[in-house]
């Protein structure tokens, strides 16, 4: 019983941290993007305001059970992957469920939410949401390949599928994996571009052209949960990258610095890019990123 | 004591001569008498078979002259089984065709006489121990077969029959040539005597005789380049006659060929030749069968393929191989006859007998269709029906003889066979009936006949031991040439009354 309470407490704390960091990043994203595009942009805390606004809004419609449950699904992904990913080296403060899951579990749980949300979006009956979902899923089939290749390369190189073990390897040797397995890192970063769905891979949400988009049928509490999930998930993903490639972090400050550095990659790449069509992006992921992934596997297998 | 093997010939001949007389007095007798005769023969055959299994081969001498001077009939386990099978098939086909040509007395009379003689001739071919006598029986069978093939007037049956006759008369000529060659060397016509003296023959005579026998009997046994007449004849003959061809006549031809090769001469290479020619026959005819669009032609080609398989099994030459061959033979007789019998009802009212005209018959003729499907499954060799065992024994015999390539070939050909049979079954059950076809309900006697065959298929399929004991003895009897010679030449057993 105590254990459960302990875990729950840990979960809540990590959730709060992840939420606040993630939402800040998103705000910063908007700001930076605006500056690059020669706009003034909203303040960095704009997203906090948005979330609170959304929460306090009255939600008057839903389109059925699946639609109702969709945000909860995506929240599951965000929270559970956050719980599985070790936040700090040596599991300080946030041990959570780090020992109970491994990379492969993580890979799958990360799909759980989007799929659930897609179902919710599907039930709205909005044709555009289904179109968005098909694009998203197609793109996922694209970027998962280099991503998995990178992970497999790491797994076979260090003979473990556990994130904690990978972190320990880095702590012990003092070398970040992004340097000892550069190809894996390259592939993983390229996959990350797709994972964050910023340009050029933002056809999924298609914010400009599809006035309604997948999210458009959600409002109020639904959008609130989805936004929070998105921010938590952003943080979780970044932490994962930091954990396995950049030696993890000893305290939250270092973590924030590292994650933000990493976050700059998709953000900046996105600002400067036009948009790919779905098949283009899928093929892009199966091109160079996968090639690097292959190199990573070769490196891991041969050396 | 029910009788002796000669009654298999004498009684039906007597009956055949009687039928025209009786027919003048009592019209129904022309239908009943052949049935009674066949029934009697069946009872006799089964009794004798049982006896033979326990006491050994019965050799019956004729006209009181011992072999090699007189003609003799040999009822060994091997010949006995074949004779019993033929008579059984004859009887069942008689049941099937009891109402045949119900309205036309003259035609029916001729049909029944010819049919009975077809059976008798085939039984004679199997039982006789004298090559010239065998020739006579082959002619009896052939002439009845020609006439039965040409039985229907409104079809191309005369054409088929003429082809049959042309090739068939060549066959008899070659047989005569072979007999001449043998007689010129040995001065005897008795098979056992020839077998015991075969070493005295000059080898070139022996080989030439074997070649002529292979050609002459190969025509009857329907081996590849000699079987052009077969599909035509099978397809154009009335349904029951087609069944009789597949179930009775060709068996006699195969028997004769096997007897010549196994017993008469010890010419090396004949077994391999059997295998090669059997495979060729099988492959080419199955290939032709799959491209047929007429039901009976398809069945005919399929029959050729099956007989090729039987020849291959005989060609393996081991006891196991012969056992398998006998099993296949029996299965083919039953299964293919069932196919012909039920198939001819499926296309009863169609002029061209296209396979497509069986469409949807499953609904209108459920029993017939079911039996057709059963026969097809049995012929294809699907377990648990009778065909499977034959195929399995054959394969294992071939494997024991280390002929793996042959097995592979046979199996790939079986695949073809499977395809075209299942295509027909599909049509029967799952296509829509063509509107211009009116299904013809089978008569009661036809249903009884077909159902009997179906039941036999199931029984043998589930309980092959029923016949396998007999077949083992039969295959030993065929292989044991010394015993055959001894049995015949030491008079065998004189029947007493």
């Amino acid at each position: 019983m105590k254990e459960i309470l302990y875990y729950t407490w840990g979960a809540i704390v990590s959730f709060v941290v992840a939420f606040s960091v993630g939402i800040t990043y998103m705000g910063l994203n908007r700001k930076i993007t605006a500056r690059v595009q020669n706009r003034y942009g909203p303040p960095w805390y704009q997203n906090f305001i948005d979330v609170i606004k959304l929460y306090s809004k009255k939600t008057s419609i839903h389109h059925g059970v699946m639609h109702h449950m969709g945000p909860a699904f995506i929240m599951v992904t965000a929270v559970v992957s956050l719980l599985v990913i070790p936040i700090l080296n040596g599991n300080k403060f946030f041990p959570n469920l780090n020992f109970q899951g491994d990379l492969i579990f993580l890979l799958y749980i990360m799909v759980f939410g989007p799929l659930g949300m897609a179902l919710g979006a599907g039930q709205t009956g909005n044709p555009n949401s289904a179109i968005g979902v098909t694009r998203g899923l197609s793109q996922m089939a694209g970027f998962e390949i280099p991503w998995v290749m990178a992970l497999v390369a790491l797994m076979i190189q260090y003979k473990t599928t556990s994130i904690v073990d990978l972190m320990n390897v880095q702590v012990e040797s003092g070398r970040w994996l992004m340097f000892s397995s550069p190809f894996a890192f390259l592939a993983a970063v390229m996959a990350m571009l797709g994972m964050f769905r910023y340009a050029p891979f933002d056809i999924v949400g298609a914010p400009q052209e599809l006035a309604s988009g997948p999210m458009s049928e959600n409002g109020g509490k639904y959008l609130f949960v989805m936004m929070s999930a998105g921010s938590v998930f952003t943080f979780a993903k970044l932490t994962l990258y930091v954990d396995i490639f950049m030696g993890g972090a000893d305290n939250l400050i270092i973590l924030v610095v590292k994650t933000f550095t990493l976050y700059l990659i998709p953000m900046l790449y996105g600002i400067t890019s036009p948009r790919y069509r779905t098949e283009q992006s899928v093929r892009w992921f199966w091109g160079w990123p996968s090639f690097f992934g292959l190199l990573a596997i070769l490196q891991a297998a041969l050396f | 004591m029910v009788g002796s093997p000669v009654l298999f010939i004498a009684v039906p001949l007597l009956a055949a001569f009687l039928i025209p007389l009786l027919g003048m007095v009592w019209k129904e007798s022309i239908r009943i008498l052949p049935g009674l005769v066949l029934l009697y023969m069946l009872v006799l055959a089964i009794t004798l078979l049982e006896q033979v299994m326990h006491t050994g081969t019965i050799v019956e001498i004729l006209a009181g002259w011992k072999p090699p001077w007189g003609i003799n009939l040999v009822f060994s386990p091997f010949t006995g089984i074949l004779a019993t099978l033929m008579i059984l098939m004859g009887f069942i086909i008689w049941i099937y065709s009891y109402r045949f040509k119900n309205v036309d007395f003259e035609e029916a009379k001729k049909y029944f006489i010819l049919f009975m003689m077809l059976v008798t001739g085939s039984v004679g071919i199997v039982l006789t121990g004298d090559i010239f006598n065998q020739f006579v029986f082959i002619e009896i069978t052939s002439i009845s077969a020609y006439a039965l093939t040409a039985f229907y007037k409104h079809r191309d049956s005369a054409e088929a029959s003429f082809k049959y006759l042309m090739v068939g008369s060549l066959s008899s000529m070659f047989l005569l040539l072979a007999i001449i060659l043998i007689y010129s060397q040995l001065g005897t016509l008795n098979m056992a005597d020839i077998a015991s003296k075969a070493h005295l023959m000059k080898p070139e005579f022996k080989i030439l005789a074997v070649i002529f026998f292979i050609v002459g009997l190969g025509i009857e046994a329907e081996i590849f380049p000699l079987n052009g007449w077969v599909p035509d004849a099978y397809a154009q003959a009335p349904g029951p006659v087609g069944a009789a061809f597949a179930g009775i006549v060709v068996k006699a031809g195969v028997y004769a060929l096997i007897r010549i090769i196994f017993t008469l001469f010890d010419v090396s290479g004949t077994h391999q030749f059997l295998i090669v020619i059997g495979l060729t026959t099988m492959i080419i005819s199955e290939m032709a069968a799959i491209r047929q669009d007429r039901l009976k032609r398809m069945l005919a080609y399929s029959s050729l393929g099956q007989m090729g398989l039987v020849l291959v099994a005989f060609g393996i030459g081991t006891e196991e191989g012969i056992f398998a061959a006998m099993f296949l033979l029996i299965n083919h007789a039953i299964g293919k006859s069932l196919l012909f019998l039920s198939g001819s009802y499926l296309v009863y009212n169609s002029a061209d007998k296209y396979i497509s005209e069986t469409n949807g018959m499953g609904k209108f003729l459920p029993v017939t269709s079911f039996l057709f499907a059963l026969g097809a499954l049995a012929v294809v060799g699907m377990p648990p029906f009778s065909g499977f065992w034959g195929k399995f024994f054959m394969m294992s015999a071939a494997a024991h003889a280390n002929m793996l390539l042959i097995i592979a070939l046979i199996l790939s050909v079986s695949l073809i066979e499977l395809v075209y049979y299942f295509r027909v079954i599909n049509r029967i059950y799952f296509y829509k009936k063509e509107s211009h076809i009116t299904p013809k309900k089978p008569t009661v006697n036809a249903v009884i006949a077909m159902a009997t065959l179906g039941v036999i298929i199931l029984i043998i399929g589930f309980y092959p031991d029923l016949i396998s004991g007999y077949l083992h003895q039969a295959s030993q009897a065929l292989l044991d040439k010394g015993k055959y010679i001894q049995d015949v030449l030491s008079t065998g057993q004189l029947l007493t009354h």
Binding site: - | S142, F162, M166, M173, I180
Partner: protein, 137 residues
């Protein structure tokens, strides 16, 4: 090779040569001629050739018919020796018996063949064998 066509043997073997020639002629007729009637005739000739061959197999030089006619046996008792001596000068009776059967059978087949020809003519209005092939493949 001990068959030497230009040897004197050619005379002795004239029976065989004739028989083979007849066989070949008959076969030629059966295989090449277009008319059904001629085909049947060819088969018939073939048959005759075989019969001739069969008969000539049983021939014994200057042999008599295998009949113990009154003239032959009139002044000798029917003892085994006598009969044996007589029989040595007789030709082989078995081929003759066989030929009798073969002829009758050949006759039967020819009769059936001719009746089939009649039927075919009725059906196709022609006797050309090349035109009578409704059934093929």
């Amino acid at each position: 090779m001990n068959f030497t066509l230009f040897d004197l043997k050619i005379v002795e073997y004239s029976f065989f040569i004739t028989a083979i020639l007849v066989i070949m002629i008959g076969l030629y007729g059966a295989l090449v001629k277009k008319s059904l009637i001629k085909v049947v005739i060819g088969l018939s000739i073939f048959d005759s050739g075989i019969n001739l061959l069969l008969i000539s197999i049983g021939y014994i030089t200057s042999g008599t018919a295998p009949i113990f006619s009154p003239a032959l046996v009139k002044d000798m008792p029917l003892t085994l020796e006598n009969i044996k001596k007589l029989s040595e000068g007789m030709v082989d009776p078995v081929p003759q018996a066989l030929v009798l059967t073969a002829i009758v059978i050949g006759f039967g087949v020819t009769a059936v063949a001719l009746s089939l020809v009649i039927r075919l003519y009725r059906h196709h209005q022609t006797l050309n064998i090349d035109e009578i092939k409704n059934l093929k493949w």
